[in-house]
């Protein structure tokens, strides 16, 4: 059983196999389920993700009216062809947004690792699908690789916004996606870890400050940028760029930053964007509370 990223990479490298394979084998050992059962369970999660992306890029609207429709706007913008960054990157942004817009509308999603950060992993996967043409099996493997890195973060730091801020949610999701992108693109286990480290380093300190306590503002757009961050970090790792701080130490830093974050910035809607004049106005409007009572 691996306890940290170093052990995970060492296991995969010494046995000349992929991170996803190590995760599957560990799951068999821990749960006693067969490989076929485990793959079928993950395939079901993949299907839920696919349906959420499809629903989101058709356009949804949340009950509060705060979010919805941005995935559509981005798809239309991509079609016009005059974008500045890149098509795959923007497609990932659109699909990450799509998933979170469905989540905000109380639709069905698969938490990866949480619901508030559910857009990043599927967003990047379904964007690179058009470029890399993965088999269904490779797409399922993508989720196992993401899961392996998320597993380390969850056990050694946190994946809860209430405990560790948004860095623990979208930050973790982006790191997981970056690592899985590298494996899918043919990178080494070591490069997966570099991609995770590079991504997470750039998410450190991100606070959880949802307006009105809703998983909408700024969560949906943070998923967009988490996906973009993951794509760029994956390319950096594949280019051979390394993180000066080892991945496990970055995760540890994230944990300690989360511990020292004030409660107002950990999913209580008491600080940050939630406490801005506009944030407060939106909250008052949605819940019908006079501003003076807040």
């Amino acid at each position: 059983m691996f306890r940290n990223v170093a052990e995970l990479v060492e296991l995969a490298t010494s046995r000349n196999t992929k991170i996803s394979e190590i995760m599957i084998e560990q799951e068999i050992e821990v749960t006693g389920r067969t490989r076929e059962e485990i793959i079928a369970m993950m395939d079901r999660n993949l299907l839920v993700m696919e349906q959420a992306v499809e629903r989101g890029i058709q356009g949804v609207k949340s009950h509060s009216g705060l979010t919805g429709g941005d995935a559509v706007l981005m798809q239309e913008y991509i079609k016009k062809g005059n974008f500045l960054s890149g098509e795959t990157l923007l497609d990932a942004v659109s699909k990450a947004v799509a998933t979170n817009e469905v989540n905000a509308a109380m639709g069905t999603i698969c938490a990866t690792p949480t619901a508030g950060s559910a857009g990043v992993v599927p967003g990047t996967l379904f964007a690179v699908k058009n470029k890399l043409n993965p088999t269904r099996e490779q797409m399922v493997s993508f989720l196992f690789t993401s899961g392996a890195f998320g597993f380390v973060v969850a056990n050694n730091a946190s994946i809860s916004g209430a405990a560790g801020g948004c860095q623990a949610e979208v930050g973790s999701a982006a790191g997981m996606a970056a690592a899985a992108l590298v494996e899918l693109a043919g990178g080494t286990p070591e490069q997966c870890a570099e991609a995770m480290a590079i991504t997470l380093k750039n998410m450190l300190g991100l606070v959880c400050d949802p307006v009105a306590g809703l998983v909408e503002v700024p969560c949906v757009k943070r998923n967009a940028m988490g996906a973009a961050n993951a794509m760029v970090a994956a390319d950096m790792a594949l280019a051979g760029i390394k993180s000066r701080i080892p991945c496990d130490e970055v995760i540890d830093a994230m944990f300690k930053i989360g511990q020292s974050m004030p409660s107002a910035l950990r999913e209580t809607a008491q600080g940050g964007l939630a406490a801005t004049p506009t944030g407060r106005e939106l909250e008052a409007k949605i819940f019908g509370i006079p501003l003076t009572k807040q």
Binding site: T31, M106, A111, T114, G116, A118, A154, S160, A269, F287
Partner: protein
Amino acid sequence: MKYKSVFDIIGPVMIGPSSSHTAGAARIGRVARSLFGREPKWVNISLYGSFAKTYRGHGTDVALIGGLLDFDTDDPRIIKAIDLAEAKGIKLRFIEEDAVTDHPNTARVIIGDDKGELELVGISIGGGKIEITELNGFELKLSGHHPAILVVHNDRFGAIANVANVLASHQVNIGHMEVSRKEKGKMALMTIEVDHNIGQDILDEIEKLPNILKVTKIVD
């Protein structure tokens, strides 16, 4: 290791918008329902920390009630759970508490009917995963690392040995076990963590033993 399965990370499949505040809350409600064994007539829920501050926005209240109506995290009926419960005549009360708890996402669920009541404290630790820290005044120290069952029983000789025998006969190894009681000879609680998942058949077999009142699986 708090998380042991890849499906704690990639999953659960759930109704949005928050894994800890919606899916986790639904699971806390469902454990309470499962331990109570029937639909309650009234529900009092105290919310602490982030739960107290943001429950309306996250649908924590509807999710807890959804769980109490025995809905799973991906059941679309969760969205309408409060309306459904009220239509059934269940009395609901939510209390926003100021007290600071060990974990920011804590809920105290007290449910009951004319035959009895149940009180449970649950925490939602992230990604939809929960831990139960208190049941009817019994403090639980469940690590959440392993599959676990709760056995409510009469405090009589042999009750513990009988449960251990059933587990042994199915080759289930006990990793950690605690027994607590409030008063000698009255109701007691066994908390048993095992190494492998336990099927419903084993739970049913334990429940049929003398002096065993209720068996519930709380961690998969």
